[in-house]
Symmetry: C2
């Protein structure tokens, strides 16, 4: 592990790499920001680790670097953002901003994306809604299939992530950010880069035997949370983020880790809503604050206090913001090579 | 197991029992219908098995039999139904009908309930939305706490169920109906009545050891699906159905299996939406039909074809509708006693 790198430095570096690849300047800035947002929250599988693969895809012609991102089928409560094969972080950021605006006016804003791309950590987008004072649910179709329907053998489902956030009143908010598989490809890649075996229960072969070698993941499939229940939730996310939006889901998902050229037609969807939708005269904050306090102060089974979803991510973010982000040496090596190839000033050694 | 009883007969019997207990006639009819809807779909833990406990609660004064159910905080896309401590099936049925109406006009209708009660099988309510041509998500706070927050020891969470349904175009629809715990209290009660042990993984004690004796469930806690992920989803459902609505969640949940008197202030919430919200010009049906067909026809790991969520429930419902519902002998015995006590014509022996 290298020295910790200041957040602003990472953002600048990522933006400069994207600019050197001729990405639209505003899009480079937004993408750099979202990548570092993921690292900040400890979602290292969706942070700077993605810059090299994104760059490879850009150089292979897999992205539209000057997309005409448009809003279609607009209603007071919903819209579809057509990303025109632009960078996913840019498309989804626009979708979140639009959903927040609709929620402000109508109580609810539900915005989908089509012709988008991989957009990274789900919780980054619900955090944007939280920042604006709203609750949110985010759904995305993963950019590769690693799991069959329950009882099946054909991989038609991805790690389809779900993030949900609620403002906490006088308590820190609640922020859930999960894959509906036990492990995501990002998490597996972090293990692979660290040279560690996978815990049993993450990946199984078609006879149900555990696969613990990260290099053998393709010989089996990712395990859903709760068996048929998690496989069902995974489909729900795909239906919302893929089928409803006109994006890929199932057989037409593009394996973007292997195919750098075919447009992925990725879909995401964010439902932003006033947390006081049903109780507009003020009690939400006090009610949620009291519940969160009850939960956080309840008896723990360890010496540490109860941690609710999002608590660790926010603590990590505060620490990373103050002290810089520790980027893995294998990622730094990739970034040095990228900087060298593009003539961009490298990150500090 | 007794002979199979025609659906209409069960509905009439349940309604007559509720009428004899002085429930509002329209409410008796609706409640009877929803209970039998659950049995029809094979959700026997939420069907006729509940009539005796509901009756005990009614006789103990735990329900308002002439509730003034009101709609408050009404917007074009949302509302709160105050159930005035009426029967849960009645309150939620009204919420679903209102949400469908809003979805028809606005694309989205999200309706919560407060001062409601146990309303039975989640999938029954999303099926109502499906029937009207809409997709839906249903969230409910369970009427008892059986699970601590992840890493904790105080039971603050219930089995909080989630149901999600999507119209299938020319394919049968997709209908997920799950507890966010591995097993629900209803499922456990079915095992207990059958005199069968619980499978390992359903309930554990505070040291993590499995509990398989249904009588010892209270010595431990229900296991969430996917560890912290399922515990987090469980909280999300409670936040939507409980905190946002003004209903009970966490410490103020009433254990309605033991306390027949205290108003439960149960909360539910149903989000009904046009499945073509983002693609209003028609492609939804063909897209969803193709995806469902891809999934259902994909390679199975057994000799039976792939079954998606809802497929078994609908097959069971069709069979039950044609041939009658098989009610467990232990339930029939309770119902005979109830009929006797209330002077209601009993079900056939």
């Amino acid at each position: 592990m290298a020295d910790r790198i200041p957040v602003e430095r990472l953002r600048e570096f990522a933006a400069r790499v994207l600019l050197a690849l001729e990405v639209d300047p505003a899009h480079a800035t937004t993408t750099a920001r979202r990548l570092v947002d993921a690292d900040l929250r400890g979602r290292t599988g969706h942070g700077m680790i993605r810059l090299a693969p994104y760059s490879a895809r850009i150089r292979a012609g897999g992205y539209n670097l000057r997309p005409a991102i448009t809003v279609v089928n607009d209603t007071p409560v919903s819209a579809l953002v057509d990303g025109d094969n632009g960078l996913g972080q840019v498309v989804v950021t626009q979708a979140v901003e639009l959903a927040v605006e609709k929620a402000r006016n109508s109580g609810i804003g539900w915005v989908g994306t089509v012709h988008s791309n991989h957009a990274g950590a789900a919780g980054v987008y619900t955090a944007m809604a939280l920042q604006a004072g709203f609750a949110a649910m985010y759904f995305a179709v993963a950019n590769g299939n690693g799991m069959p329907p329950w009882g099946g053998r054909e991989r038609l489902l991805g790690t389809n992530p779900l993030a949900v956030a609620f403002p906490g009143g006088d308590q820190p908010p609640f922020e859930l950010d999960i894959a509906t598989t036990v492990a995501s490809h990002g998490t597996i890649e972090v293990k692979a880069r660290a040279g560690e075996p996978l815990p049993e229960g993450w990946v199984v072969d078609f006879d149900g035997a555990p696969i613990t070698d990260p290099a053998r993941v393709e010989d089996g499939f990712l395990v859903p949370i709760g068996g048929y229940k998690g496989a069902g939730l995974n489909f729900v996310i795909g239906a919302i983020a893929g089928v409803m939006t006109g994006a890929a889901f199932g057989r037409n998902v593009v394996e973007f880790r292997h195919d750098h050229v075919t447009p992925t037609n990725t879909g995401q969807s964010i439902l932003v809503f006033r947390p006081d939708l049903f109780l507009p005269d003020g009690p939400y904050d006090a009610r949620m604050g009291a519940v969160l306090e009850d939960f956080r102060s309840s008896e723990s089974s360890t010496d540490a206090p109860i941690r609710l979803p999002g608590d660790r991510a926010r603590a990590t973010a505060a620490d990373n913001l103050a002290n810089g982000i520790a980027v893995a040496e294998s990622v730094l090596a990739q970034l040095r090579q990228l900087a060298d190839e593009l003539g961009v000033e490298p990150l500090p050694a």
